[in-house]
Amino acid sequence: MENTNEKNKEMTAQESLSLITETLNNSRKEITRRGGKYFLLWGALLTIFSLLVYLLWKTTGHGEWNFLWFAMPAIGIILERMLRKKDVTDRAKNDVSRIIGGIWAAFGIFSCALALFTVIYTEMGSGLFGPLAAALSMTPGIISLFGLAECITGVALKNWTIKIAGFVTGIGGLSIYYISGSTIEQMFIFTFSGIVLVATGLIVKFQYR
């Protein structure tokens, strides 16, 4: 039989207040640590997909390989659900985790909408992914949204590493886009974003291990 008196001792006022503070701090750390895990997952997927699309596009010359991007959220959501099922600490939600979930869901919807509108309207009359410049025109929009989502996540979690990573991704990505001009190599902007996301995930994991 288990001892029900363990951890039921009466405490001093100072001990009680310390316990409350520690518990609340642990909750915040837990949510940030959890965020780091998903940064790692999505960063790895973004890096792999950007390199895959680049290689296929470059070697075959067919821009249609960009449709592979739509498989990324599908795979990511399945993997995320599997991770969530495994992790006991992922079974409690609060306002911060709900806001973060909402930020990234909104990012996903806006990015897919931007990609779809670009495919449908920019290429009309000239064949799907005809001119390279048109196919790449969605890049600055998506990279800005990406940086913004990452930055707001950092604000919600009160974590400077994530805030800075958001600025690096958004502003760094835009700089590369406008400096380099329209080439297939612009796919590396997403590789760069994926690597920044993985690095952020690792730093957060290290900070809150």
């Binding site: 951890k7 009466e10 100072q14 009680s16 409350i20 518990t23 642990n26 609060n94």
Partner: protein, 96 residues
């Protein structure tokens, strides 16, 4: 005159449980067990005590085929927790 500390909350595990639940919308048994480091038996007993006082609600259900116990803090629990923290602060302020 010092306010009386709520005896139900003035216990390490029950206070930890209410503190966790005050910061989340809901939490299941496995999560509470991991966060508090308590044994399943002890945790069950303390959850029942808090539920009997109306400080938390306990919902027993299933997640897939696995049984799942979900706990939520009630408005009465939130109020009791806030009063407890206020009382603690008075004790500590008087001690300075």
């Amino acid at each position: 005159m010092f306010p009386k500390l709520d005896p139900l909350l003035h216990s390490e595990l029950r206070l930890a449980l209410v503190s966790i639940l005050a910061g989340v919308e809901e939490a299941d048994f496995s999560y509470l067990k991991k966060q508090t480091g308590a044994t399943a038996g002890n945790l069950s007993v303390q959850i029942d005590k808090l539920a009997a006082a109306g400080y938390i609600t306990v919902e027993k259900g299933f997640k897939g085929k696995m049984p799942c116990t979900t706990c939520r803090i009630t408005p009465a629990g939130t109020e009791a927790f806030a009063s407890y923290v206020k009382a603690l602060k008075k004790y500590l302020a008087a001690g300075k």
